[in-house]
């Protein structure tokens, strides 16, 4: 299976490819066969008990720390004139180096139809940075809206658990449609239409320059996510996520799945922002014994935290060859 092709296919909204039986190795088939019937509910419960609570574990803590640190740096750089990270999430200067959010830069280039050198420098820097760090890592490790949305998701899941509300999923191709629509709107109207409603830009500017009316829109969005559709913006709308997912396709930082350790109880899929990338954890769905999670993954590490049997782990592709 071609990682790049499969990743892009999933990013743009297709279902993950189901493995052909002939494609699966004998080893993988043996793993599926050998585990059949040997796992009782009790043994799974024991494994989970031993793993302990998954609330706010290692990667979760690190990730929140990262989001808060990045946005705090934006804030103090302006408020206390520290000048470490000036600007906002859309474009900034980190100790003097130009940084430009790829999607914001794309919107500006499409609307303005000129390319300015500083923007090229900023875009290249950010492209290389997220290429090395994992692409959609931006979403879960830097985006300030992600953190708010995570809290909304927490409420949403609590309400769903109590059967007070129901989650309404949209088709995942909706996000690709949005990406195309916003790109076309920028080209045709000559205005960066997406920025008007982008909660990433709005929240980031609110943190640095103080909140304004636009935060009401962000509030509406969060309420929509709490009461109607889980993580709707990140899952079905945000073109920033699409842009970084494409970058992440070529990134060496990935989560890798090990079928041998997996007990298929599905905790990882329940907590994942983009659960389709974890379809391979369903019994019989993996293509290989050790398979990389596709690039729609935000590398948030929640599945790594939650897996009681260590079958999901971070890896840096090619690093083992160097060491």
């Amino acid at each position: 299976m071609n990682y790049i092709k499969e990743s892009l296919s999933q990013v743009f909204g297709n279902q993950p490819a189901r493995p052909d039986k002939n494609e699966q190795s004998v080893e993988l088939k043996d793993i599926y066969l050998s585990k059949r019937g040997t796992l009782t509910k009790e043994s799974l419960a024991a494994v989970e008990l031993e793993h302990g609570t998954h609330v706010f574990k290692k990667w979760h803590r690190r990730r929140w720390f990262s989001i808060i640190l990045v946005n705090f740096l934006f804030l103090i750089s302006y408020k206390f004139d520290v000048q470490l990270l000036e600007g906002a999430m859309t474009a900034s200067r980190f100790v003097g180096f130009h940084f430009a959010d790829l999607n914001s830069a794309l919107q500006v280039m499409l609307a303005y139809k000129h390319v300015v050198l500083n923007l090229v420098i900023g875009t290249t820097t950010v492209f290389i940075m997220w290429l090395l760090l994992g692409g959609r890592t931006f979403c879960s490790w830097a985006c300030p809206y992600h953190l708010l949305s995570e809290w909304a998701e927490f409420l949403h899941l609590w309400l769903v658990n109590r059967k007070l509300i129901k989650n309404h999923a949209f088709h995942r191709k909706t996000r690709s449609v949005f990406f195309v629509i916003f790109a076309l709107l920028a080209i045709l109207t000559g205005y960066t239409v997406f920025e008007t409603i982008s909660p990433t830009g709005i929240v980031s500017r609110a943190i640095v320059y103080g909140p304004g009316v636009a935060m009401i829109w962000v509030g509406v969005l969060l309420l929509f996510e709490v009461f109607y559709s889980r993580r709707a913006w990140c899952r079905y709308v945000c073109p920033i996520g699409v842009t970084y997912a494409v970058v992440g396709t070529f990134s060496p930082v990935r989560v890798v799945y090990n079928a041998e350790a997996c007990h298929h109880e599905g905790d990882c899929r329940k907590i994942c922002l983009v659960p389709h990338v974890l379809d391979l954890t369903i019994r019989g769905r993996a293509h290989e014994v050790n398979q990389d999670i596709t690039s729609d993954c935000t590398r948030c590490g929640m599945c790594v935290d939650v897996c009681p049997t260590d079958s999901l782990n971070f890896k840096i592709k090619g690093l083992d060859k160097f060491l």
Partner: protein, 299 residues
């Protein structure tokens, strides 16, 4: 194989159950409505543009063509780096009520004008996208707008009045740089009382006029240095270039009543920075305002 074979069937198209098809249909409709809704909301951002409410005083170098600010809107990446470098905090970012103009910098001259006290046009240098074009090197190159005497009757000079005390009241938050007090740091206007026989604050505080005066003095010094045989330091000869044209001057008017009256006259060198509008000591609406739909021709 066991039940896994059901999921790994070779058939390219799986037959969906009726309920699955129904839920897919609902999901499709839901997604279409959702998409239409979000796109409509984003398009609502054009309302302020269509109403023409979006034209405002912009920082120096803003890409715009009189009332058409589309290039400026599209090229700005809405990051606020210009806001961060301004020593007098003149630049603000537009709110959601400006629609697609959200996050775009503007200046409210009456509250705090751009007095060029950074000398080097820091906002232009900070701009990562060229929305504030790098085509200008000195304050005199800026074309933000053009000042106009809006209410000549309320102008203190026209009435033959002077200014004694604080120009804009003790509560006024605005800052200006007064070279004679602190060359490097702007101070609150409220900390700088005036005592002037006949009001000329719009001319006195005009950054272009201040610079011209400095240039004239520097030239005299250079002449003296030359004649006395001393060589002037190179640094003193360059820097914030001397504006080629005057921006504003006081002209005498005669009402035949023997009272000395003057009226400010805006000249070709005006860059529209808004300091005259800011400092005008008239209570309420200023006598002089900056129009953004008129600028001096580029030299």
């Amino acid at each position: 194989m066991t039940d896994t074979s059901k999921e790994t069937t070779k058939k390219p198209k799986r037959v969906l159950s009726k309920s699955k098809r129904e839920s897919n249909r609902r999901e499709f409709i839901r997604s279409a409505v959702f998409t239409a809704g979000v796109v409509t909301l984003s398009l609502a951002g054009f309302i302020p543009i269509l109403q023409g409410a979006s034209a405002r005083l912009r920082p120096p170098g803003a890409l715009k063509n009189l009332l058409d600010e589309q290039d400026f809107f599209s090229s700005c990446i809405k990051c606020g780096q210009c806001v961060q470098v301004c020593p007098v905090n003149a630049i603000k970012l537009a709110e959601l009520d400006e629609g697609v103009g959200i996050g775009i910098p503007y200046i409210e001259a009456r509250e705090q004008a751009c007095d060029f006290s950074c000398d080097g046009l820091q906002c232009v240098l900070a701009c990562p996208t060229g929305a504030l074009t790098h085509n200008l090197d000195y304050p005199a190159d800026a074309r933000m707008g053009f000042a106009r005497i809006d209410k000549p009757k309320s102008c203190l000079a026209v009435q033959g009045k002077g200014v004694k005390g604080i120009a804009r009241g003790a509560d006024y938050k605005g800052l200006l740089r007064y070279d004679e007090i602190d060359r490097w740091n702007p101070i609150p206007v409220a900390d700088h009382p005036y005592d002037i026989e006949l009001c000329d604050l719009c001319v006195r505080q005009c950054p272009i006029e201040i610079r011209i005066t400095q240039c004239v003095e520097k030239e005299k010094e250079l002449e003296q240095a030359k004649s006395s045989g001393k060589l002037a330091r190179v640094a003193e000869q360059f820097g914030n270039e001397c504006p080629p044209k005057h921006a504003i001057e006081m002209q005498q008017i005669d009402n035949g009543d023997g009272v000395l009256r003057m009226v400010p006259a805006v000249l070709d060198g005006c860059v529209g920075c808004g300091v005259c509008e800011m400092i005008c000591p008239v209570e309420g609406d200023p006598a002089i305002v900056v129009d953004i739909d008129k600028v001096t021709e580029w030299a």
